[in-house]
C-alpha cells in the first residue's frame, strides 16, 4: 500500500515539474518573439509580459523592461529636441520673411515713376529701417548660436560697472524721454569692479534697456549697489498684462510678450543677456511684483564682485 502511494506521489511530482519546465520554455520563447517584434519597431511603448509563472523569469523581464523604458525615454527627449529645433527654424523664417516681404513691397512701390520726392524719401527710410532690423535679428541669432555652442569668445577683464551703466543710460536717455517713460535711478557712485567681458557687459545693459523701451509703460527704475561680495544691478519697469506664468519664460528664445510676433522684437534679447551673464559666471533672474498702482517687472543681476584691490595698483 505504501509503495503504491509513494509511486503515485512520485508520478504526480514528475508530471508537475515536467509541466513547469515545459511552460517555462514556452514562456521564454514567447518573450523572445515579443522582444524581436519590439526591436523591429522604430517607436513603441510596448514592454515584455510574463507568460509563464516563474519568479526568476518575472524578474528578468522586469529588468529588460527597465532597459526598454530607458531607451524609450531617451527617444522621447530626442524627439522633443527635434520638434523644438523645427519650431525654432519656423520662427526664424517667419521673422525673416515678414520684414523682407515688407521691403519688397515698398521697393515695388518705389518703382512708381509718379512718386513725389517726399514719398520716395519716406519709403526709402522705411526700407532702410526694416533692413537694419533684419540685420539685427540675424546678428542676434548668430551670436546666440555661437554662445550656445561655446564658440563665442569672451575676454574677461577687470570691468568697472558704474561707468558702463551710466554710459548706456546716457545713450538711451533721449529714447526714454521720447517714449514718455519716467526714469528713476539709484546708482551707487562707488566704483565697483567685476570680472567680465567689457563688450558683453555693455551688451547686457543695452539689451535690458532696449527691453524696457519696448515694453515699459510709464515708470522705470534702475539701481546699482554693492551688497557684500556681490554687485546688484536691477532694472525695473512697469508693465501691463503680464502674468506670473510668463516670468520664468522671459529668458526663453523667441519668447515675446505678444504671441503674434507683430512687433519689432527679436525675442532673443533676454536670452542673450542670460547666456552672456552665465558664461561670465554671474547670475540673473526676473520677477514680477503686483501692486495696487501697477505691476513691476524686475530683472536683477548679481555680479560677483572682484576683491577690492588697493586703488591704483591692482593685483591683476
Amino acid at each position: 500500500m505504501i509503495e503504491r502511494i509513494l509511486l503515485a506521489a512520485a508520478m504526480a511530482a514528475a508530471v508537475f515539474y515536467a509541466a513547469r519546465f515545459y511552460s517555462l520554455r514556452r514562456g521564454l520563447r514567447s518573450s523572445r518573439r515579443l522582444m524581436e517584434e519590439i526591436n523591429g519597431r522604430r517607436v513603441t511603448n510596448q514592454k515584455l509580459i510574463l507568460t509563464a509563472p516563474d519568479r526568476e523569469l518575472e524578474r528578468l523581464l522586469e529588468t529588460v523592461n527597465q532597459g526598454l523604458e530607458n531607451a524609450r525615454l531617451e527617444q522621447v527627449v530626442y524627439c522633443g529636441r527635434e520638434k523644438e529645433f523645427r519650431r525654432q527654424i519656423a520662427n526664424i523664417s517667419h521673422d525673416l520673411r515678414t520684414p523682407l516681404t515688407s521691403i519688397l513691397g515698398y521697393l515695388e512701390l518705389l518703382e512708381d515713376p509718379d512718386l513725389s520726392e517726399m514719398e520716395r524719401r519716406e519709403f526709402l527710410n522705411v526700407v532702410r529701417r526694416k533692413a537694419e532690423a533684419l540685420q539685427e535679428l540675424i546678428s542676434a541669432f548668430y551670436d546666440l548660436s555661437r554662445l550656445e555652442s561655446g564658440e563665442y569668445s569672451l575676454d574677461p577683464e577687470r570691468t568697472e560697472l558704474y561707468g558702463l551703466l551710466c554710459e548706456t543710460l546716457a545713450a538711451f536717455y533721449e529714447d526714454f524721454q521720447t517714449a514718455g517713460l519716467a526714469v528713476e535711478t539709484c546708482i551707487s557712485q562707488e566704483r565697483v569692479f567685476v570680472t567680465a567681458d567689457k563688450k558683453a557687459a555693455k551688451r547686457v545693459f543695452f539689451n535690458l534697456m532696449q527691453n524696457i523701451l519696448n515694453h515699459g509703460t510709464s515708470q522705470v527704475r534702475i539701481e546699482q549697489r554693492r551688497e557684500g561680495a556681490e554687485v546688484i544691478t536691477t532694472f525695473s519697469n512697469m508693465v501691463q498684462g503680464m502674468r506670473q506664468e510668463d516670468v520664468p519664460r522671459v529668458f526663453e528664445r523667441f519668447f515675446t510678450a505678444d504671441e503674434m510676433r507683430t512687433g519689432q522684437n527679436t525675442g532673443l534679447g533676454m536670452t542673450i543677456v542670460q547666456k552672456l551673464l552665465t558664461e561670465m559666471g554671474h547670475q540673473v533672474d526676473a520677477s514680477l511684483t503686483q501692486g495696487e498702482d501697477g505691476d513691476w517687472f524686475t530683472v536683477r543681476i548679481a555680479w560677483r564682485a572682484e576683491r577690492q584691490a588697493d586703488k591704483g595698483s591692482g593685483k591683476k
Binding site: 513603441t44 511603448n45 509580459i49 510574463l50 524609450r72 522621447v76
Partner: protein
Amino acid sequence: MEEKIAVTRQLCKRYGQFTALAPTDFELKKGQIMGLVGRNGAGKTTLLKLLTGLTDPTGGTMALFSGETPSELSRARKRMGIIVEAPAFYPNLTAAQNLEYYRLQKGIPERSRIDYVLTEAGIESTGKKKYKDFSLGMKQRLGIALALLSDPDILILDEPLNGLDPMGIVEMRSLLQRLNRQRDLTILISSHILSELSAIATNYSFIEQGRMVEQISAEALHEKCRRYVEVKVDQPQKAAALLERELKCDQYEVLPGGVLHIYACLEQPEKIAAALVGGQIALSVIQSKGADLEQYFVDLVGGERRA
C-alpha cells in the same frame, strides 16, 4: 512614415434587421488624437467594440497595426489600452487590488506600475476604499489607470469625460495631451459633446445612424468654422463692390436676404461699418460671428438625415 494604426474596409455590424454600423472605411494614423463624434446610439460604441474585439463584425475587414489575421489582431490588442462603455471592476476590491488583479492577468512584471498609473490618473489616495464606494469620476479615472497599465501605444476611450467635474475634465485633457506628446500615444476618443474634444483633438470623425459621415482634420474643421463678420445691408451688390474697392477685401460671401459674410477685418468690424455707411448703404446688422463646432455638427448631421 506615418503608420496606420487602424484601418477598416467596409466594416459593418448588423443585429438582425438593425444596422448598427453601415459598411465603413475608417483610418486612424499614428500620433493623432481622433475624436469620434456622434449622438447617442449613432454607432460610436459599436465601432469601438469592433475595433477592440468585443464583437465580431458581420462584414468587412479590419487591420490593426497592419495585422489582419485573428492572431495578429490578438497580438495587436495587447498594445491597446481601452475603456469601452462604463469602466468595469470588482466592487469589493480597492483600486490597487483591482489593478493588481489585472496586472497579473496581463502579465505585467513591474509591480511599481500600479502606483505609477494611479498617480497619472489622479487617484493615488483612495487607500482602502472599495470600488463600489467610488464616485463616478473616480471610476472613470480608475478606468484610465487600467488602460495605461500595459504601457499601450494606442488608447481607445469611450466617452471618458462622462461624469467628470470641470476640474477633472481639464486634468484628463492635459493628461491625454501630455501622453500624446511624450509617449507618442495615439488616442481615439468618442463623445457626443463636440466642445469637450475641440481642445485636444487633431482629427474628427462624425458618425450618425451607423454611417460615417465625415472624417476631417482639426485644422480643416476650424477653417470651415472660421470667424466672420456678418452684415445685413439693403444693397448687397453695391456693398460688395465697396468692400473690394475701399477695404481691398475679396474674402466674403453674399447670402440671400442682403446678408454678407466677410472673412477679413475681423478685429475691426467698425472699419466695415464706416466704409458701408460712407458709401450710403443702409446697414441694419453687423455682428462678429463664428460657426461654432456644435453648429457645424448639427448642420452636418441634419443634412445627413434629410439625405
